[in-house]
């Protein structure tokens, strides 16, 4: 099982990559970690005439802090995210999610940028980016633009990324004092996509929930931000009754596709359960337990 014929390009810098992409336009695909694209190419779901490999573009790698914002190069791998001390302290939701993605070998190749740009609702970083209120830097022939994660995902395999643009950086605000986080993912086995998953990031002021973002994986054509559920909890002291109400709100926005992981009803209920667990764990962490 090998992909259809294509011409391979391995640019050594971003400028060259953008130029190649512009030159071959709709016939080209960007190769990041390759663990979504290459399987699709083997199955002929994708058959690009040109493949532009970003693995030899060093400027797209690395994690650094600038002005309260953590900047993550789009070609940073999942294992690099897990190993990052900076992320562990400033954006802990990212390594928590990365540890639950695929397996060690795949995490050596799979990248945060590829995970996001692919637009697959089963991928985990879209919900994490929503929950952390991240933004994405998209670079094209005319320069770069920054778009919020909220609104970036348009549908399955569809995002705001234009054909001549490359996702180059993910910007995540560093967490403030009293922040709790959790990513609770139900999966059948190592390496599987989520049956349902919930990402929660909240900030406490004493016992009051000053702010909370809830985002869901794989229960709709895109990652979902559960805005009504979050609004219910904001400004309140979160208790079991409120958590249950938020879980019900989450269920009302789920629109999952039935597949081997379960039917719509089951997935919807699992999204609610992952939300309950994630809120509880995030609360414990915010309180320093």
């Amino acid at each position: 099982m090998i992909p259809a014929t294509f011409e391979y390009h391995a640019p050594s810098n971003l400028k060259e990559a953008i130029r190649l992409l512009g030159e071959h336009n709709s016939g080209a695909k960007i190769l990041a970690g390759g663990h979504s694209l290459l399987p699709m190419m083997k199955l002929r779901f994708a058959a690009p005439a040109h493949l532009i490999d970003l693995n030899r573009v060093p400027e797209l790698k690395g994690i650094r802090e600038q002005g309260g914002m953590i900047r993550i190069g789009a070609m940073t791998t999942e294992n690099e995210i897990i190993a990052s001390e900076l992320l562990r302290t400033k954006c802990p939701l990212l390594p928590e999610a990365a540890r639950q993605i695929a397996d060690p070998q795949v995490r050596n190749c799979g990248t945060v940028g590829g995970d996001i740009a692919h637009g697959d609702p089963g991928n985990d970083h879209p919900a994490i980016a929503l929950a952390t209120e991240a933004s994405f830097v998209l670079t094209g022939p005319k320069g770069e633009r920054t778009v919020a994660a909220d609104g970036f995902f348009l549908g399955t395999y569809s995002t705001q990324l234009q054909a001549d643009e490359i996702l180059t950086e993910i910007r995540v605000p560093a967490i403030g004092k009293g922040t709790g986080w959790a990513y609770c993912k139900l999966k059948r086995k190592t390496g599987d996509f989520a049956t349902a998953a919930a990402a929660v990031q909240l900030q406490l002021d004493g016992n009051t929930c000053k702010k909370i973002v809830i985002a869901l994986t794989n229960v709709a054509p895109t990652a979902l931000k559960a805005k009504d559920a979050a609004a219910l909890l904001t400004g309140k002291t979160i208790d079991d009754k409120l958590i249950e109400q938020a879980a019900q709100k989450v269920m009302s926005i789920c629109d999952p596709a039935e597949d081997l992981r379960g039917d719509r009803e089951y997935k919807t209920h699992m999204a609610a359960e992952m939300t309950r667990r994630a809120i509880r764990l995030a609360l414990e962490r915010a309180k320093g337990k």
Binding site: A4, P104, Q105, V106, C109
Partner: protein
């Protein structure tokens, strides 16, 4: 489609092949370089039987293009033994009965080799997580975990070689 020259180090020796860009590393290793240690199991990056070491990281060679190995270092199970002496991991897979049919074993060994470089003194839990990208349908994993534990001790005693 024109073939490309690909040069890399395979188990410490320079090799040079001609391959189409669409050819996967596992196919080039097995069919052109006669390194049939890495196995083709699922071809969908799930099973780990094709695991090799590329530039010091474990990867599934069914989901890496051969051209991506250009200029790199590849280690397969054939590179573990030195001068006919088995690597402690290979010894311990034998001693602890860490294999039955043997199909997954080359991938298990190469993954375990890299895992113990990254974490020379792992807990059982860490071994299970570290080896979670490799599927075995015979052993139930218990003896594989034991083999990795024993190999870790031997390697530690020998100074982490």
């Amino acid at each position: 489609m024109a073939k490309t020259h690909i040069s890399f180090n395979l188990n410490g020796r320079p090799v040079d092949v001609l391959a189409e860009p669409r050819e996967l590393l596992i196919h080039v290793l097995r069919e052109q370089l006669a390194h049939t240690g890495p196995h083709i199991g699922c071809e969908t990056s799930h099973c780990g039987a094709c695991t090799v070491d590329l530039n010091g990281r474990s990867v599934k060679s069914c989901t890496v293009l051969a051209v991506q190995a250009q200029g790199g270092n590849v280690l397969t199970v054939e590179g573990l033994a030195t001068n006919g002496t088995l690597h402690p991991l290979q010894e311990e897979f034998m001693q602890q009965h860490g294999l039955q049919c043997g199909f997954c074993t080359p991938g298990m060994l190469v993954r375990a080799y890299r895992f113990l470089q990254e974490n020379p003194n792992p807990s059982e839990e860490e071994i299970r997580t570290g080896m979670s990208g490799n599927i075995c349908r015979c052993t139930g994993y218990q003896n594989i975990v034991k083999a990795v534990q024993h190999a870790a001790k031997r390697l530690q005693a020998a100074g982490g070689k």
